[in-house]
Structure formats: C-alpha cells, structure tokens
Symmetry: D3
Subunit: 146 residues, 6 copies
C-alpha cells in the first residue's frame, strides 16, 4: 500500500495565510485621556489608526492516504474567510465586529485568542494548532489554545 | 584624483524607506451612502479601516567626491520623518492631517502627490525624484512630479 | 476647488500585483534533445517544471478629481484576472494557453510581451505603462510596450 | 574555559533554506476525471502546473565549544542539495523523482514526510528537527518526524 | 467581566523584531591560517566580512485583562535595544562587544545564547521564550533557553 | 513566423539578483576621528561593520526569436559572479577589492558606479541598463550609466 511508503509517524502541520485591513485604537473607557495616552501613546489617537494584518492559521493531522491532504487547503481558506476575514476586513475592530466585546482592547494578543474561538468549532477532521497574527513587519503574536 | 576613478557619468538615485500606520476611508460627502458604497465598496465603511503604509523616497544627484554621498541618508530619513511620517503615523488621514485638504479622498494616488509637495522644499543639494507608496502588498503608486 | 490643492502636475503610476502558478519547459522542436539540453539545461526537462509567478501591472494617468483614482484598482484587478490569470493559472504554458503560440518559448521575456498584448485593449481611461513579471525571487523582466 | 561563558543550557536550532522549482498535479488514477476535478479543482489540470518551493531544514544540537557550530551550515546546505534538491529541482514530482512513489499525491504534506526520510540518515552529530516547505506565499507545511 | 469573554486558556507568545548590522570573522586563534580557512572558508577572511542581522525576540504570558498586553511592545523594543542592539549595531562582533568573550566564535548559534543571557534578566511580568536570529535570508537559529 | 505573433515593439528589460556579504567603514583619511564620527556616525566605527547586500542587474534587449531570451539568465548570473560577487563576497570593501580605489568611500552610491564599470565590458548582445544595490531593507541606490 502506498501509505506504507511513508513512516507511520505522519503528523503534519498545515498553514494557510489570509490577510485583512482594519482600523482600531487602544483606549480604556474608564481612564482619562491623559492616562490613555500615557499608556498607549500614539495608539490611543481618538480618531483611530489602522493596519494590514497577516493571519496564519495552522492545523495539524495526518495526511489522507488517498488525497495526501491533512485538510483541503481551499476549505481551510474558505473557513478562515467566513469565520474571521469577512467580519474584520475593512472594519473598525473597536466598533464593528460582533465577536469582539465592546470595551475589550483589540490588541494583537486579544485578537489571536478571539480568532481561535471563532475558528475552532469549524475545523473538522484535524485539529486547530496555532493562530499567528502579524500587526506590522516588526510585531506578531502566536496563540496555541493553551 | 579619486573622483577620476569613477566615470564622469555619475547620476545616482538614492532611496530611503520609511513606514507609517494610519486609518482612512473613501467617502465623497456630496454623494449618498448608497453611491459611496457602490463606488468604493468596503473602503467606504463609515467607521474607517486602515493600513500599514510603506513609503519609498528617491532622490537623484552625484555622489560627493569626498564622502561618496548623494545625500546623507540619515538626513533624508530625518526629513521624511519631519515632513511626512510625524504628521500621518497613527493618524486618521481624512481628519487629522493638516496638509490633506478636508474632502479630498486620501487615496494612495492623492497621498503620493501631497507627500511630494511636503517633501520637495526640504531636499537640498540634490533633487527629489520619486515618491513610491505601498498601501498593501498588492497595490502601490509612484509619482515623479510630472 | 479641491483639485487646485494638488499641483497641475498629476501623472501617477498605479500598480496592481496578481499571482499565478504554472508549468512550462523551454524546448525548440526543430532542435535535437542534445541541443535543447545544451542551451536550456534543466529548463528543457521533457516532463516539465513550474513556477509561482508574480505579475505587476502598472497603469498611468491623472487621479479623478472626485474619487482620487487613476483607475479603480478593483477594476484593474478584475481585468488582469479575466485577460491573463484565468488563462494561465494552474496551466501548462506550452500547451494550454490560447494566446501563447505553439512553438513560441514561454520565457519570462515572451510572456511579458504577450501579457501586454492581452491586457492593453482592456485598459480604458488611463494608459498601460508596464508589465513586470517575476519568475523566481532572483529573476524578473519588465516590458513597457516599446 | 570559554564554554563556561555560556550556560550549560545550550540546545540551539539551526535552519537552512534551499529552493527548487517543479511541476506536479494532483490526480488519483483510480478516480474519474470528474471526481479528480471535483476534489482537486485546478490542481488536477492534466497538463500539470508548478511552483517555486522554499524548503527550510532545521537541525538541533549544542554548538561545538571550539567552532561554535551546531553543524557546519555549508555541510547542511550540501546535504540538502544532494539528498533532495538535485532530485526534485526542475522536475515533475509525479513522474521524475525516484523517492516519490508512483501514485502517491505530491502534496506539500507528503513531500515534507518524504523529504524527512531522505534527509534523516545523512544528518550526523546533531538531530534533524523540522522540515518546513512553502508551496506558495500563502501555504506551507511543517513536519517534525512525529 | 470582559476577561470572561476570553477562555481561561490565555497563554500568548508576543514577538518583536529588531535589526543590526555588524562585522565579524570566524577564526580560532590556536589554529594555523590554513586550518582556519579549511574549516571556515570565506568566513575566515582576516579582514572581516559582515551581515544585516534580523533579531526576533519572543516572550510568553497572559494578556493583562485591562490593557490586553502580554507586555508593552514598546517596552520590549526598548529593552532589546538597550540590552543588545546598542552594543552590537555597527560593531565588530569579535572585538567590540563586552558580553562576547574574546576568542569565542561569533557564530549565529553562540550569539543567540549570549543574547538570551543579556536579555533574560530584563524581562519582567512575563517570560522570555525564544531568541531567533537571521544571519542571511537562508540561515537562522533559534534558542529557547534549554 | 512566430516572431510575428509578437509586436515589433520588443524591448524587454531582464533583471537578475545576486547577493554578497561584506564589511566596510566610512572614513576619510584626511579627517580627524572627531570629524569622521561627526559626519559618518556609527558608520565610522574603526573596527568595521558589515551588510548583506542585494544586487540587481538589469540588461535590455529584444528576445531572440528562437530561444525567447534577451540573454541567457544563467550567463548573466555567471558574469555577475565573475566580475563582481567573487571579488566582494565575504570581503572588506575598504581593503580587499582591487577595483575599489584605496581611499574612495565604499558607499552604496560609489559601489553602484564601480560595479557598472566592472560589468559593462562583459555584457554582449544586449545592453547593461541598471545596477540596483540594496544595503539594508531601508536603503538602496540605482545607477543607469548616466
């Protein structure tokens, strides 16, 4: 059998990148403007700023012995788009996104956790392993559901 | 003389990259919401969206025979920051930037022209040649002052 | 008038990137296998090889005084996809593409010229300026219709 | 002793990138053309398509106290080229590669496992840790021999 | 409470990139020139060579329930600059850096371990997780303090 | 004839990238150390620093009607390596390179002009068009032999 040509150690991690553009600001409603600016600097600009975000989603599983797929990467792309991208792309992360609670800071850290929660129920036949989110070319976070 | 080791054809183009993050939307005040969305799609979202912009500024001139510099690239970096980056970084391009007229669409095209106008008076001893502005990894514009 | 805030020098170059993946080989039918391999090396492998191509299309024009667009970049993307990407993506450039003559080598050089011919009739209201095509991270060509 | 200047915790992961270009298609011989296209879409084009692949190989070990090397990265490069790149570069992954069984789908997942099997016997003095293979800028897999 | 909107699994990994340029050579003082060149090749050139290094520092922790920060990334940037970048940027790694012992090879492997030692005492409120250092686009190492 | 399928406008620009790593410093021998540091800052560090340089060489010409090549890109690669890369890679640009006059500052500007002079005599059958040299991800120069 073909599958025998592979070792029985076959755990593979498959990653798909999607992208979105969004506005946000960091602002704690209970704080004064001075304290917000002291803590968040330019990120507290009341008229918002924004980013091009790069989102990498990793799933893990064994390749199907016939198709060689851990998961059809076109399906993975579609699921990421439906569960996340369509809800955040060209949006205001503080105001427009149903799954981001009003008042929660839309930091890269919090976004990664919330994206996991949105995506995890839709991954079938393999396991969600990592959400990696780049905010700029110099900053990214990773979340593994731990 | 050392300069003789170079040909007398010595026009060199020197480019410096700077970056900024900003929010904007595309919205013509005289148009209905329907018409704005018909023309600008997601870019007309009333709560804004944003981008990481990459700005490449090119100057042209002959290298100084002693220093080998068309222009000190640290000076070029400082001038770009003072004339442009400090005024647009972490800002709302529709609302916050003195040199972007209220009502002018902050498209990448218009930004490139306006950035040239801001920068050009500050370039001494060589010539401003090009403003190149990336809005996403798939879109950029160039403006040569023509 | 808003347009007066810009100088009357307003020629802007707008670029859109699209991507495709394709197979090809370099092989002159009139030559022996030996001569093909002597000239084209590994690129003459009879069972094909392939690339991820990056295509940058540049148009030039003046931004519309209302919209700030040289051309709606979503339209430009759609036109590139219809005229080029849909005909070459996941294809064999020697066998599958109607606008690549049988027997013409699908080199990056020839592709750039042929892509210009496909695209040029569809660009309205501004001018096609450049086709830039990357074959690998180390090789690209540019064609300006000259 | 110099080594004492480092802590005794000295496990370092060293990665080397190599690249290759290849053609392939996804096609299950036992399936009809319709079923192949239904499952694999454009990837089932009978005349092949292709990619620029980026291969990152990671080994782990303690740096030698004299040379500071986990492994001479030039040796690692040579081994990757001999064991993998020379056998797949400018080839057809379905037809030309002795270590890819006929009929096994040359998906990125299966390639990563097969590359590990090829490479692992040649890594001496440290341990193979990861094969990471990019198929496009949006898709990659990782395999850790688990 | 807002924090309840997140799961209680909240371990997030935050990464910041900084860059520096430096000269170095690989040279064992106890060896002859012949042996140095035999082992290190061009890297043993007595007049040095150099690199643009890309340094990625990863910390892990739970986002603060108010600010959404694992750590203020501006603080992380400042700490990396003070502990590492200011001591190595535009320097000679064999001669100029107090924390690199004379005679220790400034390989990417050894640098990663030494950078961890410099940085670790300054990370407060979360944990240093990884030092990732790129020497060229084809070579990087990772060190996790193991 | 096949060539007729292309327009008679067939000027194509072909670019090849090569890379090298080198040490240098900026230092005018006739100046005091103070003046050197005042002008060149960290770049005047007496013990050198270094860079990973990216060199893009562009030639222009009409594709051969049989091969579709402006120039065999493997030949272009070989010529760049022989004329430039082998003389500068892993070298000290102030001390080691015969074609860089002692005392001339090895700025990116001067390097581009000198590289053109080295390369131009070896380009046959088409024309050298541009030398583009990246010193860091934020700085590059271009030289067109003007």
């Amino acid at each position: 059998m073909l599958a025998d040509k592979l070792s029985n150690k076959q755990m593979v991690y498959l990653t798909r990148r999607e992208r979105f553009n969004a506005a946000h600001k960091l602002w704690v409603a209970e704080w004064s403007e001075e304290k917000n600016i002291e803590w968040f600097g330019k990120c507290a600009n009341r008229n918002w700023h924004g980013h091009n975000y790069d989102l990498y989603v990793t799933v893990k599983g064994k390749p199907d012995p016939i198709t060689g797929f851990v998961m059809d990467v076109k399906d993975l792309s579609r699921i990421i788009k439906e569960a996340i991208i369509e809800k955040v792309d060209h949006c205001n992360l503080n105001l427009d996104v149903p799954f981001i609670p009003i008042g929660m800071q839309p930091t890269t850290e919090n976004l990664a956790i919330l994206f996991w929660q949105q995506l995890e129920p839709h991954i079938k036949g393999c396991e969600l392993h990592c959400i990696k989110l780049w905010e700029t070319e110099n900053i990214y976070v990773e979340y593994f559901g731990e």
